[in-house]
Assembly symmetry: C3
Homo-oligomer: 340 residues x 3
């Protein structure tokens, strides 16, 4: 999509210095600007790049005074960062939200309903008795099972799989390939060493403003619901087991796994590749460092945890700094022993 500099200046309430009829089709970093792109200059550290950039235009603040001559066009706004953010959001809305209507072939059971202004891509599948709100986008290859509810303005990206009975709130994004509501991992050991599958009849409930990453997996509850609360952000390839509760505005980075029936509090920050055992509770505002393993309740809120089995981070770093010196420590002990 192409826009003239004049159109962009009108959108972000700015003033063009240069040729307002020139067209741009891309947002660039100032240090990597190329013809046809528009960048911004906010941080003084980057000022050097405005004299060299090949970008067609740069958004600058009202009070910017170039030290030397500039070859690109300028759009002056009150605050360059704010102006660029507005442009970024407008651009993102146009490119991501633009699709409306139904592509064919697609499958939509006649017992299901979809609100206004929605999109369903080719090869999307919607099963029985589903209710999709207004502005819901079901991209190509998405699977929506039976009895699924999806709130207004939620986006189901290509190839995401929403299994039967799942409930998703409004303004959520389910990224490509994510699986929501697959069977929990429950098997009853039998006397002969084999396992019998325990039927998993619960569901997944995802509240409003939640994001689920690409190829992440969230299992349904054995009974009841696996629950992802409002505003939680879950990254790619994360595993959430049956009956887990993830609190409001909790952030979970890539490849972390949370075992069955564990409850994570509100406003926690959990880094990548963390593992958390089942049937425990993590207090609100807990921060957990990358690769940490957590095997017990965290009762006090606001703690930062790190290390192989989830020490307090200060304790871990103390022990760990000595771990590095174990060889010399051992030598010192030998020396002491010799002197006895």
């Amino acid at each position: 999509m192409e826009f003239t500099l004049d159109q962009i200046a009108a959108l972000i309430n700015g003033k063009v210095e240069g040729d307002g009829s020139l067209k741009v089709s891309r947002l660039d970093k100032i240090q990597e600007g190329k013809p046809g792109g528009i960048a911004f200059l906010s941080n003084e550290k980057y000022e050097q790049f405005i004299y060299e950039t090949e970008a067609t235009a740069v958004i600058v603040s009202e009070n910017f005074k170039p030290a030397r001559s500039i070859k690109c066009n300028l759009i002056r706004v009150k605050n360059a960062y704010t102006g660029f953010s507005q442009l970024l959001e407008a651009y993102s809305n146009i490119t991501k939200m633009g699709k409306v209507g139904v592509e064919q072939p697609s499958y939509f059971d006649e017992s299901s309903v979809q609100g206004d202004a929605g999109y369903r891509g080719a090869f999307s599948y919607v099963g029985k008795n589903c209710k999709l709100g207004n502005g819901v986008k079901i991209h190509a290859h998405s699977y929506i099972g039976d009895n699924v509810k999806i709130g207004d303005h939620t986006i189901i990206h290509p190839g995401a799989k929403i299994c039967s009975d799942t409930v998703i709130g409004s303004h959520c994004e389910i990224h490509p390939g994510a699986v929501i509501g697959s069977d929990g991992f429950g098997f009853a050991p039998q006397e002969d060493g084999s396992y019998k599958t325990i039927p998993q009849i619960g569901n997944v409930i995802i509240e409003d403003y939640v994001s689920i990453g690409a190829n992440a997996t969230i299992d349904c509850a054995t009974m009841g619901s696996t629950l992802i609360k409002k505003g939680a952000k879950i990254d790619n390839l994360v595993q959430i087991a049956h009956n887990v509760i993830v609190g409001e505005n909790t952030v979970i980075a890539s490849q972390t796994g949370i075992s069955g029936s564990t409850e994570i509090g509100n406003n926690c920050v959990i880094a990548g590749q963390v593992g958390i055992v089942g049937h425990i509770k993590i207090a609100d505002k807990t921060t957990i460092g990358a690769k940490t393993g957590i095997s017990r309740n965290i009762n006090e809120s606001g703690k930062t945890l790190f290390g192989f089995v989830g020490f307090d981070i200060k304790d871990f770093l103390k022990s760990y700094s000595i771990f590095k010196n174990l060889p010399s420590l051992q030598d010192r002990i030998k020396e002491l022993e010799k002197k006895q």
Copy 2:
């Protein structure tokens, strides 16, 4: 799906106390019971909830005597837990096994055959020369390559990908998004630092009663077969590399990875986020704790391993408890040295 309490009582050989014409459509936990749901009371610890539950009905054992008045309806059976389990299984069979027939559009090469009472969802793909047994369910968006064999009553969930030449036994479940038979990760280093792809021409064989989790990946063998033996249960996001063998009734939890050509014995239990190097053997009945790394053969069966490179769990915990005290240990050494 709705059933009357009379219908349910007939199914589980029980007797209604209350209004047998009332309908329920959901199995609830007793502590979270809502109108339209049926729960059960087996463990005495939960007795308090039967006096408060909003569930329409609760399944109780013959000899249950309420201490106070109860507002919900009851279904009395010999053993409440057994009765509920029967109901759970019946419910699960109805909701999961119910689909029969072929939805359109779907793709089925004319050289392939499918047995009786099967299901193929819209946008399912079945390539050339496939043999699908009786009662096989190929859900929407599933991909079945060429020359694939699938035994009776196996379920391929939405969007699972079964690559060419894979053999799957009967009564298996392949969960959504799982990839079976993708190319092994094999590259031959060249003199200029680049890598040449080694053709991967083997396949994957999955025996009966195996479960493969959502978005798990199982690579085909370079030559020969990657083999998942009877009754093995593999969780979401697990990686099984080329030529691996997983033994009978072995359970592998989420996000664990097993490198090429390793053989895992029968009846092992491997927790989440474990990593196992290639070309080793793990004895039968080995238990491996979460996040453990295993880099050598485990020859003796029945061991429990834990820790960064797979110690015996007792040894690990001994060292680890001291690791926590390294700072004080170091202080003690300093003190000793001063006294010399």
Copy 3:
């Protein structure tokens, strides 16, 4: 596909000893050979198997002299390993590259173009303004968004998702279920504890001869490009975050995660389940052991790193060997203290 031994001998420039009209349809390991298969004998260690194998034929070197009688047919070539490699590659080309043409139903926006000799499977989706080169294979259920460019002879395996604006070079393989160009994980914290989504408007650029594993995820850049350079090989379930750069001929094994804006050098080898923090640089030719965590720049090229926070491997192993002996070390300190 079946071939006579005469046909195979012609292909690999060999000479049949036995019945050249017999047909084989499979490449076998010599120790697992079955009728209808052809194996090879190169390494003397395996010679015993040629006297027992049930394979229809075995490829042997010119100078092979059997010690006893052999029941299978032979194909003699100059070098058995080379001959078999030729056969392996031919077989792989036939089975993998064979598909040409377009299966229906498939979706291809009229603004997009595809070169000659390509393949598009049923239920494949190609959005607007895409340019697909010659010999490109888009397998069933693959998703190609808008404005995507794919170079000659690249294979997009079943169910892979290539999001809008992605650029992929020639001779690449994107394995089943991989997600390329999904949104980066970027959220700006708000005063009330909630997070606002930061629009992700960059893309992913994948150069020539790159392989991306099954169900791996590569996020688009916030702005600019996430870049996978020429010849890089990335395994199943790997996570590459926004704005990461992976160098030429770098190999990354399964379940490793690389956080945002990190730059990995050329010719690195990164084992499985490694975690690398964001905004750091890893020098060329760095080797990183399995499960290692890397939290700082690696400036010197050619190092081998291992351990929980990425020690030099020799230092780690020294400390680790003592870690195992911490209990006895503690006892020795106690003993020393008693003697004071």
